[in-house]
Symmetry: C2
Subunit: 111 residues, 2 copies
DNA sequence: GAAGCATATCGTAGATCGACGATACACAAT
DNA sequence: ATTGTGTATCGTCGATCTACGATATGCTTC
């Protein structure tokens, strides 16, 4: 089972394109996936998907994290556009941005 | 347009379930999305998807990064299972782990 | 205006990331 | 065995993440 250089060559079909995908596209994808790259943020998103909307306080109650930490994660989710926050008096009502969600799903599905 | 406490209440349908998703599920999702949470790794994955397989050196050539940096990213992709590396003599042939890829797609699609 | 509640921001500390060059390792060819 | 090539690992540095408590902000109510 000695493998020669010729054998190794077989593993790579050099005729296939190697062109790098668009840098902007990659950054877009990375930004969106990064939003979900932390268990706490995944749980928050899942939580919001189960409801039409949710108050910040309710999220904090369900998470084993300090209020300030949850607020930080929410900020990240807002910055990436996955989540929207609507000020409602002294509270804030969070909900999923369905467009951003659809974009993420499409990006992954088309991968 | 003064909003009272009763109005605020409307924004949240408290009858909906608030049960947190499984922690393990969230960690699973976070691990996989984190693998794509960097533009360089997104580009590498895309590159591998365009080919049946690819040598490490070819990836390095196409990326504006040092060989050691690319190797680090590949290590992360291998650890998350998205990418497999097959030793082929002195070289390593990388390819996408289709099962892991399918799992990621399903996780996102089912979100 | 004062008090109270909900949320955001600040400041900090430790952990991890991301980049690189230098170096070690593994295999092939000589 | 030695050399050369391709890849992985090490060590380091600055930047960023994540967590927290403390504090500021904004709105409502009294």
């Amino acid at each position: 089972m000695v493998r020669t250089k010729a054998d190794a060559k077989k593993c790579c079909t050099t005729s296939e394109t190697l062109a790098l995908p668009d840098v902007a596209w990659a950054e877009d994808m990375a930004k969106l996936t990064w939003a979900l790259a932390h268990p706490a943020r995944v749980r928050i998103v899942r939580l919001l998907l189960n409801r039409t909307s949710c108050m910040c306080g309710e999220i904090v109650e369900e998470m084993p994290l300090a209020q300030s930490t949850v607020s930080q994660h929410l900020k990240i989710l807002k910055e990436t556009g996955l989540v929207q926050g609507e000020i409602d008096g002294p509270r804030v009502c969070y909900c999923i941005n369905k467009e951003a969600m659809a974009k993420l799903k499409k990006l992954i599905a088309d991968l």
